[in-house]
Amino acid sequence: MRWSSAAAFFDLSDRLKAATDSGFGVGFPMLLCHDPADQVTPFAGSQLLFDRARTDPAQKVLVRLDGGLHDLIGNESEAVAKHISNWADGAAAWASSY
């Protein structure tokens, strides 16, 4: 990894923390898919985002995909697509309500 890219990841992390720390930062529907055993990007990050989001509980979903590892899109493509499909209608209804 390049030095600048490594620094950029810390910058990105700072931005994400700032966005969620504000308390008003995240309020839209969200779907999080993560393997609790992910060693590249820890599951705790998704858990924290989920907990901090001010989204209506009915509109936020945290899915544990055990065994999916980091490449969830490659390893669990069907499951990811299914969860997106299930979540999207409610999110679309939210979008049409404002």
């Binding site: 990894m1 390049r2 030095w3 600048s4 890219s5 490594a6 620094a7 950029a8 990841f9 810390f10 910058d11 990105l12 992390s13 931005r15 994400l16 700032a18 966005a19 504000s22 008003f24 930062g25 995240v26 309020g27 839209f28 529907p29 969200m30 779907l31 993560h34 393997d35 992910d38 060693q39 590249v40 990007t41 820890p42 705790a44 990050g45 998704s46 985002l49 065994g67 999916g68 980091h70 490449d71 969830l72 899109i73 490659g74 390893n75 493509s77 069907e78 499951a79 697509a81 997106i84 499909s85 979540w87 999207a88 209608d89 999110a91 679309a92 939210w94 979008a95 049409s96 404002y98």
Partner: protein, 381 residues
């Protein structure tokens, strides 16, 4: 000798002149240091080796030719840096009445949307009735830019430009039907032990009937979503936060820093924003270093932004076992990823070239995928 003696007396303390051995040692050390300095400066200022290059160890692995490169019209030019950013459109055309929504899907660090990893998901989302728009981050995949260079502000500016571009032309976009299904290379496992639930999809699914039952009234605006994997998850979350803040007047516009925050988003166009999907989202590095080390690291990054972090500092790279579940799957991805494509990630000093070369050498008979272009090109533009 006399002049040398007087010179050294001027340059060095008297104790050196009185001790010939010490004098010689000091002279040698000084000369070596100056030579190193000159060599280092020459390396820094001299011509750099061209990147990408084909590493010799990839010989024998099928590498797509230049003729397979994406066509020029499948790029947009980023306003931030003038780079050509590659994009693709998949799934159901947004103009179709049964289209359920538009998903902007993005890859993570060092990955790219041309990877076969993404084909099954693109197929499944298309089968489920979604339009999917993807673009490669700057420096990733087919997009121009410093290979694997990351800059959140500039990437977000590109992202905003791309979303604007697509949303502004929703009514006119038509997708080439079936291109993904035709070009995809399904994962054919020689081992019967692989469960179908965890292996990449085989062919298309038969969920089309379910899609037709969900007809969208054409008068209703199309909802759109953002979705990203890993680093892409973090970036798209920031983008979503900015859109949401602009629409509802909440939040702080954090995502816009360094990007194009001076240009207000078109609120009416963004109105049907439906939310965010994060897949294995990056939020924080797994083991952040202590603050002093982080400060030093950022200082080095400012001085040598393009240079690679030495392995002795960064530690071992991410093991493939953290990404894929078994050796066969690792080999499949290694040999099916288009990392050999000019501009792809196996080129030059990519983070993945090492592990991929190892996997390829371990599986010499593994299949390779003829690159028939998995692109979904715009048919009518």
């Amino acid at each position: 000798m006399a002049s040398l003696g007087s010179l050294t007396t001027m340059m060095f303390p008297a104790v050196l002149a009185e001790s010939p051995l010490l004098l010689v040692a000091t002279t040698v050390a000084t000369t070596a240091f100056v030579a190193f300095l000159i060599a280092w400066l020459g390396h820094r200022l001299g011509p750099r080796p061209q990147e990408p290059q084909i590493p010799a160890r990839f010989a024998g692995v099928e590498i797509p030719t230049w003729s397979n490169r994406p066509r020029p019209r499948d790029f947009f030019v980023s306003r931030s840096r003038g780079e050509r950013i590659y994009y693709e459109l998949h799934g159901v055309a947004p103009s179709e009445p049964h289209c359920r929504g538009l998903i902007f899907l993005n890859s993570g660090y060092s990955s790219h949307t041309m990877r076969p990893t993404y084909v099954p998901l693109l197929q499944a989302l298309g089968d489920a009735g979604f339009a999917v728009a993807t673009h490669d981050w700057s420096g990733h995949g087919y997009s121009e830019g410093l290979r694997c260079g990351v800059n959140a502000g500039l990437m977000l500016a590109d992202y905003e430009q791309f979303v604007d571009l697509i949303l502004a032309s929703l009514d006119t976009l038509t997708l080439t039907p079936g291109a993904v299904a035709a070009a995809s290379s399904s994962y054919s496992s020689s081992s019967s032990s692989s469960s179908s639930s965890s292996s990449p999809r085989k062919g298309t699914s038969g969920s089309g009937a379910g899609v037709r039952r969900r007809r969208r009234r054409s008068s209703k605006p199309l909802p759109w979503f953002v979705c990203g994997q890993s680093m892409g998850g973090g970036l798209t979350l920031l983008f979503a936060q900015r859109v949401w803040a602009d629409i509802l007047g909440r939040g702080g516009g954090v995502a816009g820093k360094g990007g194009s925050e001076k240009e207000p988003l078109l609120q009416s166009r963004y109105a049907p924003f439906g939310g965010w999907v994060g897949v294995a989202t990056f939020f924080e590095p797994p083991a952040p270093p202590p603050a002093p080390i982080l400060a030093v690291m950022k200082g080095v990054a400012a001085l040598f932004p393009r240079h690679l972090i030495p392995k002795i500092v960064s530690g071992a790279s991410i093991a493939d076992e953290c990404v894929w579940p078994d050796a066969e799957r690792i080999a499949w991805h290694m040999t099916h990823d288009l990392w050999g494509v000019p501009g792809g990630l196996g080129w030059g000093k990519s983070v993945r070239s090492e592990s991929q070369s190892q996997s390829c050498s371990a599986v010499p008979s593994a299949r390779t995928m003829p690159h028939n272009s998995t692109n979904h090109f715009l048919a009518n533009r």
